[in-house]
Symmetry: C2
Subunit: 213 residues, 2 copies
């Protein structure tokens, strides 16, 4: 039942293999879908026999939750640390820096948005779980970041929901569809220079002065 939590001294092999499985699972769950990534394929990529997944995570569903939770934890760590280091800076500058870092994170971890766009298209257990455990706090944070700026007239008067999907869509799509982008334009969006170009583009679009159109 308790796979690995209490005393760490008693399992030397477990943690490394757990990590390898999680990495392989995240890769495959995000590229193919939940149904499209078989436990055997995940096991093969992780270099372990298939029943090990059941042993460590109980079921395919629990493995999915563990893998997904990992990326969101990384995101929360990255973004949380960013705003922490900006105490006292004015709201607009903070927002610009946060958005810039969010674009960079989306480039470094396209699996995040790949999984979101896979599981949030249709009602279901996965959607409910994702929103309840991981997405809701992020959304609330984004809204409470945007609303003061809109109220102060520093960015356009657009409802926060629209700003949120404008931001996430504009920030992530190019990296989510990186293979398409390469085939279509010859440009590799994961190239650091291209990432910075996209950061600039997103920030410029989102934080345009309100009186421009």
């Amino acid at each position: 039942m308790t796979t690995a939590s209490e005393h760490r001294a008693a399992r030397p092999h477990a943690d490394p293999t757990r990590a390898r499985i999680l990495e392989a699972a995240l890769d495959l769950f995000s590229e193919r879908s939940f149904e499209g990534a078989s436990t055997r394929l995940i096991a093969e990529r992780a270099g372990v026999p298939q029943p090990l997944l059941s042993y460590h995570f109980g079921s395919k569903d629990e493995l999915w939750k563990a893998a997904v939770g990992q990326v969101f934890d990384e995101l929360n760590r990255a973004m949380g640390g960013r705003v922490e280091g900006l105490r006292g800076v004015d709201d607009l500058t903070v927002a610009k820096l946060v958005v810039a870092d969010f674009v960079r994170f989306s480039a470094a971890h396209p699996e995040l948005h790949r999984i979101i766009t896979q599981e949030c298209k249709a009602e279901g257990e996965h959607l409910q779980w994702l929103v309840g455990h991981h997405i809701r706090p992020l959304y609330d944070g984004a809204v409470s970041m945007f609303e003061p700026l809109v109220a102060a007239g520093l960015i356009r008067d657009v409802p926060a929901v629209h700003l949120y999907y404008l931001l996430t869509g504009a920030a992530a799509t190019m990296f989510v569809l990186a293979p398409e982008c390469r085939l279509l334009s010859g440009v590799d969006p994961l190239d650091p220079a291209e990432v910075e170009r996209h950061v600039d583009a997103v920030v410029a679009m989102l934080f345009a002065a309100p009186g421009a159109p």
Copy 2:
């Protein structure tokens, strides 16, 4: 081998069932993925026995191509008709109207972007086929719409690739993730008033004056 193409007079029942199958297939392929949508499930939703899919389309793969081709044809008809009716209008106004209509189409047919984000995340047959047969022309059209505007200084100096993914991401994400949006904010993005709000937001962001930052 030839399922249905040459002379249409000889198949009275076929076309309606074909249409029902295609509709069900598009729905399920876009919500669940290609692997996640079984032929039995598609058949059940279409109200036909499962082997009919093999008869009409030969294989699951061919069914997928037919269903996908249908949405892209609709998009091409809609957008093509739009630019046709705007001969003589200045480039900037045309671009704004085309972008607005593209957002509206994305709201009316979220399946389009759902399928794209599903099959273009990883290299494979489906990606190659999609780009070659349907996405490339759209991309070329978008680029040749944006580049004169950038050259004339009417929109920000951002490479066309970035503009393309900024546009498609910002336009479609809210509608692709409509179930998430409802759960997250209580707002139904498919509500016509919300769609128009999103149209305004996307157009305003994309066509902001270049000298605003």
